[in-house]
């Protein structure tokens, strides 16, 4: 397996991913907020839409940067535009990706960096898988990607990532939250999907779709 995209195509792919992710977030604002209303404070959709607007506005600027810098800057934009809990978490993820982005961005190297980025999110949130948060999607998805990339095609790895995100989201439903606002409603968080897990899945699916298309691979939907 080689590079995930041609060297000078990096930033173009990144921009496509960015647009796809922002599009998904804007299209799903109401649903994300509704999930947050049930066990949180009802603003998750609005929070991420602020990020989406900020990122889309900055897209031109970002595209003039080398990819690692663009990732870091995007992370900072997420942090500054969101506030709330999801801002520092998604922002940390992007900044960690940017800081550790490999010189030679093979799929395997990217997979390692991706997993490290998810660990950084966990450190920022002092949280781990099983606490009914976005980590329940992010961590298994990154792991599935790394494991699958080692043994197969990029397309298969992306598919494994998306599948893991799906089941990670579903797994949050029966959980009792122990991190984030949902922890405060205790037992009453059981039976609801976690909003952050839902947005994480949306974003990962959008990225996988773009990468798959740009690599001309197919992705089961």
């Amino acid at each position: 397996m080689g590079r995930m995209s041609p060297p000078d195509g990096d930033i173009a792919v990144f921009l496509h991913c960015l647009q796809a992710v922002c599009g998904e977030l804007l299209a799903n604002e109401a649903e994300l907020s509704a999930l947050d209303r049930a066990i949180g404070d009802g603003d998750h959709g609005a929070n991420l839409c602020r990020a989406a607007h900020a990122l889309l506005e900055a897209a031109d600027d970002l595209s003039s940067l080398p990819l690692p810098k663009a990732l870091e800057r995007a992370g900072m934009l997420v942090v500054t535009s969101v506030g709330g809990a999801s801002g520092p978490l998604y922002g940390t993820m992007l900044m960690a990706l940017g800081r550790a982005w490999p010189q030679d961005a093979t799929a395997g190297a990217v997979a390692d960096v991706l997993e490290q980025a998810m660990e950084a999110v966990g450190r920022r949130g002092r949280s781990t898988v099983g606490e009914k948060t976005m980590l329940d999607v992010l961590v298994p998805a990154a792991r599935a990607f790394r494991e699958s990339v080692a043994s197969g095609s990029l397309g298969a790895a992306l598919q494994a990532m998306v599948d893991a995100a799906d089941s990670g989201l579903a797994a949050t439903r029966p959980m009792r939250a122990t991190k984030g606002r949902a922890a405060y409603v205790g037992e009453r968080s059981i039976g609801h999907l976690d909003p952050g897990a839902a947005s994480a899945r949306l974003c990962l699916r959008a990225v996988a779709r773009v990468l798959c298309e740009s690599g001309s691979k197919e992705l089961r939907s």
């Binding site: 907020s33 209303r37 066990i39 949180g40 404070d41 009802g42 603003d43 609005a46 929070n47 602020r50 942090v79 500054t80 535009s81 969101v82 506030g83 709330g84 809990a85 999801s86 801002g87 520092p88 978490l89 920022r124 949130g125 606490e131 122990t178 991190k179 984030g180 606002r181 922890a183 405060y184 409603v185 205790g186 009453r188």
Partner: protein
């Protein structure tokens, strides 16, 4: 829950502009990044900074001024401010003695203030307010929510800083205030965030939500409305059970309105609380009643008790001159 708005997303900044213009002799609003600071910061003292989601007015910006906060950092409604805002506020008011961040314990606030502290070039200390006894999370992996008790912590720490206490001392006094403060609230209805089209808490008439937070989040349980005395008794039970019987130490009794309950009813709740505490031989040494830590227009109230030591009493009584709290010389 109709609202006075132009563009819903501009509510926070338009409200802050009005606030800053109305109190222009005391505060200044920085629009980008957004924070409110004292007009004349004193850089020779510890800078006391708090912040959090908007919608709890007069918290926090209303408590910027002599004897309390040096700066407040307002996020969007019910959303934490971002690190760049917090950082800019710290840079605008901090002097050599460093900065104390007073943070309500919500993941968002905790993380955003943490990132700001990492970026800030100067000494910082952070205290987490977690006074809400409603949260029955036995594992306590996240601790409790910070609610109305935040005002008490801001007053005590602000007074100490004003008197020239060093950063370590301010932080210790804030921690002491936190350790001695407990709150429990009840809502009789919901509230609506300006950008949302539905209220945060939907309640039928005749219901109440016991242990509600200050964002219209669900509380302990939904029960039929009871008489005021019974409600206050239940709130005080929960608070006292957690705080421990204060013994000889007198308490500050703080009845806080969430925004949509008439002052008459807040004083009625306070009257009930006094009667119940008298019966239980708890001595009330200071009182505060009013809409101080609100949840937009939510009808409801919380009861806060703080066990007051002598030094805390002195700090509580110290002069304060802010748009939202004002007493003393």
């Amino acid at each position: 829950m109709s609202k006075f708005l132009n563009e819903p997303r501009d509510a926070v900044v338009e409200g802050l502009r009005g606030f800053a213009r109305c109190h222009a002799d005391e505060v200044v609003l920085n629009e980008r990044p957004r924070f409110v600071r004292r007009r004349n910061p004193n850089r020779n003292k510890v800078g006391v900074i708090s912040g959090g989601g908007s919608g709890h007015e007069p918290l926090h910006a209303g408590y910027v001024g002599f004897g309390m906060l040096d700066a407040a950092v307002p996020g969007e409604v019910f959303s934490s401010p971002s690190p760049d805002q917090i950082l800019a506020a710290a840079q605008a008011v901090a002097g050599s003695p460093g900065v104390l961040f007073i943070v309500k314990n919500y993941s968002g606030d905790v993380m955003n203030f943490e990132m700001a502290a990492e970026m800030f070039d100067g000494e910082t200390r952070r205290v987490l307010v977690e006074d809400d006894v409603a949260v029955e999370n036995s594992t306590y992996t996240v601790g409790r929510r910070g609610v109305a008790g935040t005002l008490v912590v801001e007053k005590i720490a602000g007074a100490a800083a004003e008197q020239g206490a060093d950063l370590e001392t301010c932080a210790r006094l804030a921690e002491e205030a936190i350790a001695r403060t407990r709150t429990m609230g009840v809502a009789l209805g919901g509230c609506r965030v300006p950008t949302a089209d539905r209220p945060n808490l939907e309640m039928a008439p005749g219901e109440m939500e016991l242990g509600v937070g200050i964002h219209g989040e669900p509380g302990r349980r939904r029960v039929p409305l009871q008489k005021a005395d019974a409600i206050v008794s239940e709130l005080l039970d929960a608070v006292l059970q957690d705080l421990g019987t204060p013994g000889d130490e007198p308490v500050l009794l703080f009845v806080n309105g969430f925004g949509g309950t008439p002052l008459m009813e807040l004083y009625l709740l306070y009257d009930a609380a006094c009667r119940i505490l008298d019966e239980r031989k708890v001595k009330i040494c200071r009182s505060l009643v009013g809409n101080y830590v609100t949840s937009l227009e939510m009808p409801g109230a919380s009861v806060t008790l703080t066990r007051m030591s002598d030094p805390m009493l002195t700090l509580w009584d110290a002069p304060v001159r802010t748009p939202g709290l004002r007493w003393g010389g």
